[in-house]
């Protein structure tokens, strides 16, 4: 029904009994029947429009029940914005069942992640990378995939709050108007604006306007120790780097640049596989990161040793005048390998040093690069504009000293992320907060203003490569929320709509053709920054002497799944297994096996971690490959407000940020159950993940496994997963969850072994736990040709399709679980409870309408995204042709930034998947189980050297 329907709005805000009484009164209202007659002619003239009054009344109530229930979903403006332009132009009237894609973006740390938003009947249901945009090339990271659920988060703030009590925007506007007058009078003295990193040119333009209008005002940036890329800096070009050395740096790891770096690394590594140059990756790091796991050569090194390694590396490649310190033999071996790699790839090498390292280390790295002439492997990004925010740390003293009279927090959560903020805030006369949730900061604020999600607002952003992205709404806000631009607009008293604001930022888009082009493509042409010449090589400064290594060193990183905590309310990310530990729903104090042995710790033991005068308490997790005396903790947990999902999960380590002083670890009382999806990581003599030494090597051929001939059919779907490309980033896992309506089950059930992920990324290590070889392995359903699961099912609920899919027929399944018992890969998932019917309407709206929602007691598993296959089949049938190569792209494949996953028709020799499988590195997982899997793997190549490699 259309949005002006009085039915939902005519109802009192009531629930349950009251709600039905409400309906009752509604029916009795004079004139209602008239409205009803025009809305629902069927009701008025239908079978029960006779004289039997009571009859008619009851039936109408019955129908209204349904009608209003629907209104609850569609009545609340879940409609596309008329101005927004679909990237793939569908028929304009939006035929039901036809999906429309809009180019847009979401932000992480102020870096825009270019996306295509898929909408069905006006509901955004899936996000894909924007293939038109160089910063995405169609790929996404886990965060980008999960952003969809943030949009539908039932815990989002729905109305302004004045001192915690709901109020109207009208009153909020009055308040802001009053504030504006006061600031005009005082020239902004005592006014502070606190934000996270701001990448949106339009927002920066507004802030600039604010600062110009009120010179006394200050803008503070809360970055929680992470870099603000808008200040400019170098952008690594892994696609050009044939030898990459990472020292305590994690370019492939989660974060705003993951997609950029991973796509480029994928390009480089694929070129290497094709024989075009090397792709060596030398990593020295305190705690294993996915970059370290991907490395061709990894060294576990304490943060304090990085400088020493750099110096040795400099000496190795012949940089003059560098003081070196003695190395251990593993360090020496690593330095030699890395040095030789850099030397071989002279001019095409790249050295990345973690931002936690001192400037002297950065300078030395630059010197080495200069010495080797590695200019081409970076692009330097200029600062976005002249604006330079003051660090949030400087805000606290001012607040404490009472120098801050008014504080506006825009899209940040200092009360959680900035230790000491709460106390300092007490001295601030007026505290305003604009955010998506009523979070820790909102609870301290006099005024809380609900912000609209980026996917429902007009804005713009700056992508990883520095180019600008227009952000257009996929749907109108259905909550009473306003965009960040609108909130600043209210304060500044300009009442333009956001679309106009954005267009004003971009004069080159003034004519509609260019504007529409930008919206369709999802990028603003000519916004790429002019290539600045790489920074000049500073003279190698003397390195700070390495601190004694006997003490523990502490590493604090954003959580790989919920980042800095701003995403902690997202169940998809909470239940997403962390790449190396496979922990879900919480964080831990990660220690090395050696340290655990010394202190007699085992997984789950509670420990008190102290750095200087600050300490936190949490459960221990032993992480093989971590440097002996390094302790790693993750930010982003222990949220205290703002989300039912996030609250009470894990512990908050923000207090440790920037703490100085000796690091201590003491056993605390008790222990906790950590919900990990994987219990055994050691791969002894097993060959789950297989390796070849060099590009030239191939795996020994497998003997023919079965008495029966292989299945013949066309198309015959199959998948190839190149473990040499997989970096274990989890993007595929979340993509699968979003595409296939995979339910989340919560920590307790995960701990019981009942997670529902259709696609998991296994992580193994081999060798000495103190310095093992790591490997990732994504495991979807193998779609075996000789599938044991099918043999087990007594009711034909899992059978084989003519095109080679192992089908799971939900409505035929009676839940004997034999299929799962017989599955050698254990990829099947069972609905132990009713996991879906109690979902709130918001979450139902987020579901993909093309995928069945499974009921209690049935088995489910990866379907190779059968809905996408049949969509392609239908199109092909309509056009009377065969399904084209590359026409079917599974959700995991689409998301993968390194293109490790290839899907297609194995019956065509020319298809990409056949080419992969024909290669010498192709193997079946568990060939001895003789299941003839359609999903096969390509072995990892130990070396990154184009012509043989000495590494092993």
């Amino acid at each position: 029904m259309s949005e002006d329907t009085p039915l939902p709005t005519g109802l009192p805000q009531a629930t349950g009994q009251a709600y039905w009484r409400g309906l009752d009164e509604l029916v009795d209202e004079p004139g209602f029947m008239a409205t009803l007659a025009e809305r629902f002619p069927a009701l008025a003239t239908g079978p029960f429009s006779g004289e039997a009054g009571d009859w008619r009344r009851r039936d109408i109530l019955k129908c209204l029940g349904g009608a209003v229930a629907l209104a609850g979903l569609d009545g609340c403006e879940r409609r596309p914005d008329e101005e927004a332009l679909p990237a793939v132009v569908a028929d304009e009237d939006g035929t039901p069942g036809v999906a429309r894609f809009y180019a847009t973006a979401v932000e992480l740390d102020g870096v825009a992640q270019p996306l295509l938003g898929k909408t069905r009947e006006g509901r955004p249901v899936k996000l894909e990378g924007n293939p038109e945009h160089p910063a995405s090339l169609g790929a996404t990271d886990a965060f980008g995939q999960a952003a969809l659920l943030d949009l539908y988060d039932p815990d989002r703030s729905a109305a302004p709050l004045e001192r915690g009590t709901p109020t109207t925007w009208a009153r909020a506007e009055d308040a802001l108007t009053g504030l504006r007058a006061a600031l005009d009078a005082s020239g902004g003295a005592g006014f502070r604006l606190l934000t996270g990193p701001v990448g949106s040119p339009t927002l920066r333009r507004q802030i600039a306007g604010l600062l110009a209008r009120w010179p006394g005002a200050r803008w503070h940036l809360l970055a929680s120790g992470r870099t603000d890329h808008t200040a400019g800096g170098d952008l690594p070009r892994l696609d050009r780097a044939e030898a990459v050395v990472c020292l305590d740096a994690d370019p492939l790891g989660p974060g705003p640049w993951q997609v950029w770096n991973a796509t480029r690394w994928g390009q480089r590594r694929r070129a290497f596989q094709g024989g075009a140059g090397s792709a060596s990756l030398y990593v020295a790091e305190p705690s294993p990161t996915i970059t370290g796991v991907t490395a061709t050569r990894r060294l576990a090194a304490a943060p304090s040793r990085i400088g020493v390694l750099l110096a040795a590396l400099a000496a190795r490649v012949g940089v003059a005048g560098v003081a070196t310190a003695p190395l251990t033999s593993p360090e020496r071996a690593w330095v030699d390998a890395a040095g030789d790699g850099l030397a071989k790839a002279r001019g095409r090498g790249l050295i990345l040093v973690g931002k936690d390292q001192p400037a002297s280390a950065q300078a030395l790295a630059a010197a080495i690069e200069a010495h080797l002439g590695n200019g081409a492997t970076r692009t330097a990004l200029p600062p976005l504009d002249a604006l330079v925010p003051v660090d949030a740390a400087a805000l606290l003293p001012d607040m404490a000293a009472g120098r801050v009279r008014t504080l506006l927090v825009l899209g940040a959560n200092p009360a959680y992320a900035l230790p000491g903020f709460a106390e300092a805030a007490a001295r601030v006369a007026t505290r305003l907060h604009a955010g998506l949730h009523v979070d820790e900061t909102a609870q301290l604020a006099h005024w809380h203003l609900p912000l609209a999600h980026l996917l429902e607002s007009w804005s713009d952003g700056r992508a990883a490569d520095g180019s600008a992205v227009p952000i257009q709404p996929l749907v109108r806000p259905w909550l009473d929320a306003r965009s960040r631009h609108a909130v600043l607009g209210l304060l500044l008293g300009d009442s333009k709509d956001d679309r106009t604001r954005v267009r004003e930022t971009w004069p080159q888009l003034s004519d509609d053709a260019a504007w529409e082009e930008a919206l369709l493509k999802g990028r603003i042409a000519g916004s790429e920054p002019a290539a600045v010449s790489p920074r000049p090589a500073a003279a190698p400064a003397p390195l700070s002497p390495p601190s004694p290594t006997d003490g523990l060193s502490l590493v604090v990183r954003p959580d790989p799944c919920v980042w800095d905590g701003s995403l902690a309310g997202n169940p998809w990310l909470q239940e997403l297994p962390k790449p190396l530990t496979k922990l879900t729903w919480g964080n831990a104090v990660h220690v090395s096996p050696a340290l655990a042995r010394e202190q007699g710790l085992k997984n789950g033991d509670m420990v008190r971690l102290t750095a200087g005068d600050r300490s936190v308490t949490g459960p221990v997790w032993i992480l093989p490959g971590q440097e002996r005396h390094t302790v790693l903790v993750h930010l982003g947990h222990g949220r205290r407000a703002g989300s039912k999902v996030a609250q009470g999960v894990g512990f908050d380590v923000h207090p440790l940020l920037g703490a100085t002083g000796p690091v201590r670890l003491e056993r605390a009382d008790g222990s906790a159950t950590l919900a990990s999806t994987q219990q055994h990581f050691a791969m002894e003599e097993d060959e789950f993940v297989r390796f070849v030494d060099t590009l030239a090597d191939t795996l020994p051929p497998e003997p023919a496994s079965s008495f029966y001939p292989p299945q013949k059919s066309s198309p015959a779907w199959g998948m190839a997963i190149d473990l040499d490309l997989c970096i274990g980033c989890n993007a595929c896992v979340v993509a699968c969850v979003a595409e296939n309506n995979v339910p989340m089950v919560g920590a307790e059930q995960v701990a019981k072994g009942r997670e529902m992920h259709w696609l998991r990324v296994d992580r193994y290590y081999r060798g000495d736990p103190d310095d093992p070889v790591h490997a990732f392995q994504p495991v979807p359903c193998m779609h075996c040709e000789d599938a044991p699961c099918e043999m087990g099912c007594p009711v034909n609920a899992t059978v084989h399709s003519p095109d080679g899919l192992n089908l799971q027929v939900y409505n035929r399944c009676i839940g004997t679980r034999t299929c799962s018992a017989y599955c050698p890969y254990k990829v099947r998932r069972f609905n132990w409870f009713d996991l879906t019917s109690k979902d709130p309407p918001e979450l139902r709206a987020a579901r993909n309408p093309e995928v069945t929602v499974r009921s209690r007691g049935v088995m489910e598993k990866c379907t190779y995204c059968i809905q996408r296959i049949s969509a392609a089949r239908i199109t092909a049938k309509k056009e009377d042709r065969a399904i084209a190569e590359g026409e079917v792209v599974t959700a995991c494949q689409a998301a993968c930034p390194t293109q490790a996953i290839v899907f297609g028709d194995v019956s065509r020799p020319d298809s990409a998947v056949s080419t992969r499988k024909a290669g010498g590195r192709d193997y079946d997982l568990l060939a001895e189980a003789q299941t003839r899997p359609r999903t096969t793997y390509q072995a990892r190549i130990r070396s990154g050297e184009s012509h043989g490699g000495e590494e092993a």
Binding site: Y708, C784, D786, E790, M791, N796, V799, H800
Partner: protein, 183 residues
């Protein structure tokens, strides 16, 4: 005591108190040419069948036939239904003979047993809840430790002849069982 003249008899019973004498008596009557003989015993008495000339193997035959029918049905069902809605499972052929044999065997057994026991009941006219034998005095002892030899009344039945014949075997007692109960 009943008056025989007024009542059609069902049979005349001679009571013995051990199975050997019963068998012997049965032999004797058989030699004298009595055709319609039967006996009532607490358990199957060895040698009695030969003595009375019973050789009924319908149960055995039925068991065999039932088994064959069960086997054929089972296999036909599995093959037929697998073809009726052909579904590929596990890369195995639609008609997987080895896997079909299990159910075939089970239904063979089921068919055999049902047929056998069914025949037992039908040929013995069971269940039957009213029968002259139930009203004969002392015959209930045949469930305990008495053994009765019966000359069944037929068209040419002469109860005096029968009485004499039975008396000659000097049983513990001779009883007449009337056709109509409650006399």
């Amino acid at each position: 005591m009943t008056d025989p003249a007024r009542h059609e008899p069902f049979a005349l019973l001679a009571e013995f108190d051990d199975p050997e004498r019963l068998v012997a008596a049965a032999h004797a009557l058989k030699e004298q040419g009595w055709a319609r003989l039967d006996a009532f015993t607490p358990f199957p008495v060895k040698g009695l069948d030969e003595a009375l000339g019973f050789a009924d193997d319908r149960v055995a035959k039925a068991t065999f036939v039932g088994g064959v029918v069960g086997a054929v049905t089972a296999f036909a069902m599995q093959a037929g239904l697998s073809l009726d809605y052909p579904l590929w499972t596990g890369g195995r052929p639609l008609i997987a003979v080895p896997s079909f044999l299990m159910i075939t065997f089970e239904l063979t057994v089921l068919g055999a047993v049902l047929a056998g026991i069914g025949t037992l009941l039908v040929t013995s006219r069971l269940p039957r809840f009213n029968h002259p034998a139930f009203d004969a005095e002392r015959l209930d002892l045949s469930r305990d430790d008495r053994y009765f030899l019966a000359i069944l009344a037929g068209p040419t039945f002469d109860r005096d002849e029968a009485g004499k014949a039975l008396a000659a075997l000097n049983p513990r007692s001779i009883t007449q069982v009337p056709k109509e109960p409650g006399a």
